[in-house]
């Protein structure tokens, strides 16, 4: 109960641990999975891990408005990245009929 309590009520450490876990999880997804869509989700997870950390710090600093606005910008940037990323996945799928990143290996010496 007390651990949960700390996370829910102002315990900065809890949020940071969650953020770093999400970040590591996202990185592992990008590096280990071989499906482009899942790798792409890993990237989004990494961005949002940074968001969690940012908002936790902002709240810890007494609700820093600048950081909260920055959070909105990051969401918008993530949306732009999603648009480009999905377009590239679809473009690749049209040529190859697969979203397996191991099979996208025609660019070699």
């Amino acid at each position: 109960m007390s651990g949960m309590d700390a996370i829910l009520h102002g315990g900065l450490q809890g949020y940071l641990v969650v953020a770093l876990l999400l970040f590591a999880l996202g990185l592992a997804t990008v590096l280990l999975r071989r499906t482009l869509l899942l790798q792409f989700m890993g990237v989004e997870l990494m961005l949002n891990a940074a968001n969690v950390a940012l908002l936790a710090f902002a709240r810890f600093r007494g609700g820093d408005a600048q950081a909260t606005v920055f959070y909105l910008f990051i969401i918008a940037v993530a949306a732009c990245e999603a648009a480009i990323g999905l377009a590239l996945v679809i473009g690749l799928f049209r040529h190859r009929d697969t979203t397996d990143s191991d099979r996208a290996a025609s660019l070699k010496q």
């Binding site: 940071l16 790798q39 710090f57 990245e81 480009i84 660019l107």
Partner: protein, 499 residues
């Protein structure tokens, strides 16, 4: 919140390319491939006009010596320097891409629009120490580049190269963001130069979180300059993208990443000397790895664009050596080298367009005998390759010389020797380019194919190549004027590094 006229003058160089980028898609609404030539002409004209207007405002700022700094924007000399750098690279790219996309039969307005957005992002990226602006600038120039790599959708390799660049680039951006957030969390301010002061005052300089944050920021920069071990995307992305875009990526991305690195690490985070020393050690190790790996891999490439990609990786190594030396003179050398690098690399990629080499792969075989057929282009090729290899009368030599001299002066003699050896090795693959151009006769098969095709007509790309050759030669013969008038003033008056 109203802006004074001088503030507008500082903001316009950023706004004008963005405005042009918004207008061009409206013109491209027409059926793309079949658009009348005058519409294409107007699109390219608008792009050039936006870039030229931005250039005019930047040079105007430079001449008056004004360094407006307002809100999060710092249009100081260094920002103006990098603005001019980016705008020139963008103009050369636009001119070359007119010829290249016509050869490829894929002329689209979106390409120009993305290019202009990317140029805006690059200027923004180098004109701030505030983390929000830095991150937005980084994303504003990276996201259009992901799309530009995959712009010729008809070719399967194009989407593949774009995808690889996108995935690795997005990971690097996320790391950069996380680094900035960690530094914000410890210091409570998003402005990096203020944050450095706070961290020093609170004695948090060697806090593991602060170190992790600084390391993640550095990772973001090193990814953009394609330093080992973050270089894997470079050859694939360059090979997949159209020649002018590959040139723009190799020159402008690397240039602004180095200039922003200069603004953040030696300048803004200067109060954190302990962190700076650690980061310098990391950069030293990675610079050595980059030099060795880039040069050795370039030796065995048969594809010209992959060779140029590995060559651009090894040039990142030489530039990083300038940061290892870390003296003001070395930083001046880095800026001078970037200017020469702009000319020689845009020129080298422009040559591929000027020779009319389109298609899946551009190998050394395709270059055979072309030097004699187009003597002016052949001469320019000789200038670029000798300069890239660092042979004395060319500009590239003086850039390397300034960096190596400072390395020796600061006691990094071993690294300077390694740098010289690396340049010697690199001479092999640059001369291979010239050997193919001048000393090897084209195969009978290639001659037959060439006589079937219409003659190559690339006047704009040819003109940009000659302009680049002139800059490289000027860098060789007038280097002191360029260094004192341009590079040094950017550092002294912009960053105040030389006190």
């Amino acid at each position: 919140m109203s802006l004074t006229p001088s503030q507008w003058a500082a903001l316009l160089p950023l706004l004008l390319p963005a405005l042009g980028a918004c207008l061009i898609p409206l013109m491209a609404l027409d059926k793309d491939q079949a658009t009348a030539k005058w519409i294409r002409g107007v699109m390219y004209g608008t792009a050039l006009l936006a870039v030229a207007a931005s250039f005019w405002y930047l040079t105007d700022l430079w001449k008056t010596g004004a360094q407006p700094s307002f809100f999060q924007l710092r249009m100081d000399r260094l920002a103006q320097f990098s603005g001019i750098f980016v705008v020139v690279a963008a103009a050369l790219t636009i001119l070359q891409s007119w010829d290249h996309f016509h050869q490829e039969g894929w002329v689209k307005g979106e390409t120009l629009s993305l290019l202009l957005f990317s140029a805006t992002g690059m200027m923004l990226f180098t004109a701030s120490t505030h983390f929000v602006t830095l991150f937005l600038g980084l994303e504003l120039f990276s996201i259009p580049l992901y799309a530009l790599v995959g712009t010729v959708r008809a070719r399967p390799e194009s989407a593949e190269g774009g995808m690889k660049y996108f995935l690795t680039g997005a990971v690097a951006s996320s790391c950069f963001l996380m680094g900035g957030v960690l530094i914000y969390g410890l210091s409570g301010t998003l402005d990096l130069s203020a944050a450095a002061g706070v961290l020093k005052a609170q004695g948090l300089a060697l806090d593991p979180l602060a170190l992790t944050g600084a390391a993640l920021l550095l990772l973001g920069f090193l990814f953009k300059v394609s330093a080992v071990p973050f270089h894997q995307w470079t050859p694939d992305a360059y090979e997949a993208s159209p020649h002018p875009i590959a040139g723009f990526m190799s020159v402008a991305t690397k240039g602004v990443a180095f200039i922003a690195l200069l603004r953040i690490f030696p300048s803004s985070l200067a109060p954190l000397t302990a962190v700076g020393a650690k980061m310098q050690a990391v950069v030293a190790v990675l610079a050595v790895a980059t030099l060795v790996l880039g040069n050795l891999t370039a030796l065995v490439q048969s594809n010209v664009k992959r060779m140029l990609a590995y060559s651009s990786i090894s040039h990142a190594g030489y530039l990083m050596l300038g940061f290892v030396a870390g003296t003001p003179a070395a930083h001046t050398g880095v800026l001078f080298y970037l200017v020469i690098y702009l000319a020689m690399n845009m020129g080298a990629f422009g040559l591929l367009t000027a020779f009319g080499l389109v298609g899946e792969k551009t190998t050394f075989e395709d270059l055979r005998g072309l030097g004699w057929k187009r003597p002016a282009m052949g001469f320019a090729a000789a200038v670029f390759m000798l300069s890239l290899a660092g042979i004395p009368p060319m500009g590239g030599f003086y850039g390397k010389y300034m960096i190596f001299r400072e390395l020796v002066a600061t006691g990094h003699v071993g690294m300077a020797v390694l740098g010289v050896l690396a340049s010697l090795v690199s001479a092999y693959y640059y001369l291979r380019f010239l050997v193919a151009l001048f000393l090897q006769a084209p195969s009978a098969e290639a001659e037959r194919l060439a006589s079937d095709r219409p003659a190559v007509h690339a006047p704009l790309a040819g003109a940009t190549v000659l302009v680049c050759a002139a800059i490289v030669l000027a860098g060789g013969f007038l280097q002191f004027a360029l260094v004192d008038g341009f590079a040094k003033r950017a550092l002294v008056e912009g960053l105040g590094l030389i006190r």
